[in-house]
Amino acid sequence: MRVGPSNDDVEDARLAESARSGDAHAFEQLLTRHETRVFRVLRLMGIPSRDREDLAQDVFVRVFRSLPGFDSRRPFRSWIYRITVNVSHDHRLHSARRGEEPTTLDHDAVPESESGAVEDRVVLRRRLEAALGRLSERERAVFVLTEIEGCDSREVARSLGITTITVRRHLGRAREHLRRLLDADQAPKNVSSGD
């Protein structure tokens, strides 16, 4: 259970307050503190690498524009998750309207200098990403925010605008579904590297 704001939350609130009054340096610090988080969630929500930087930019521009409405008593992290998931949702809708195929697997090259252990982890992560593509968008968001980002159910509920009961229900379904998909897929699979 959360008992109070963490040091990170306090620092985020301070930076958000400065950025709100037009301090570009404070905004850049916020961006630096949260960009990997935004990229990671976009990726796990199925945004392909070709679109990810554009959408991450969209997230931060929206964040900046919406700063006047940010409640600094709440964690900035939850708020940026909400915007990221919304941007991902909008992108999915636009892609569907344009008749594009939803992307479930993303391809990023494993640096040649990396050890086999890193390569193994990349392959395992890709398997999870492929399996995530089989979940509903809501289940996927709940799973990503809870299991990968480590948010508690209240924070996820707040980020997605749903109740904690719904969060727990989606999480249970997502875990069960993923476990079934991944455990059934024990045999080594050749996942290609594209870009």
Binding site: E35, D120, I162, I165, T166, R175
Partner: protein, 149 residues
């Protein structure tokens, strides 16, 4: 396999993307540019827009009720009984009550009205739905949309 995939996905070494330097500059420039109009006309307009949105919330709720009532045949020229829906704040809880006693209803909730269709519905048992504000209170200035079917 599930646990291994999950552990690999949590590894910060594997998932650490960042903006390129050129893009980072562009993002900051765009964000700052998006703020500029606020020094002109918008400060006067923004509060009005916020109030308009707040004022629109009861209207949206009323529309939902009308839709509900029409579907269930509550409002008709021959029906003398009016439908009843009450939304009350009781302590830290919000209580929705639908007085028809005849049908089961489903309630959906989202901060983005476009996503109401994707949200999982909660069944209103006995025509009542209660929600604790402590659990999932919206951020300040944020509207929450409910749909009751």
């Amino acid at each position: 396999m599930y646990e291994r995939c999950l552990a690999a996905s949590k590894d910060p070494e594997v998932l650490a993307e960042r903006f390129s330097e050129a893009r980072r500059t562009q993002v900051i420039r765009r964000a700052m540019a998006s703020q500029e109009p606020r020094h002109g006309v918008v400060p006067l307009f923004l509060p009005l827009r916020r109030w308009a949105a707040i004022a629109a919330a009861p209207a949206a709720l009323a529309l939902g009720i009308v839709g509900l009532a029409t579907r269930d045949g509550w409002i008709s020229s021959t029906s003398p009984q009016r439908p009843g829906i009450e939304v009350a704040k009781v302590g830290d809880r919000v209580v929705f009550s639908v007085r028809n006693g005849q049908y089961d209803h489903r309630l959906m909730k989202a901060t983005d009205p476009r996503s109401l269709a994707d949200v999982e519905a909660v069944r209103m048992r006995g025509g009542v739905y209660e929600e604790s504000l402590g659990e999932s209170a919206p951020a300040r200035g944020e509207l929450v949309f409910y749909r009751i079917e």
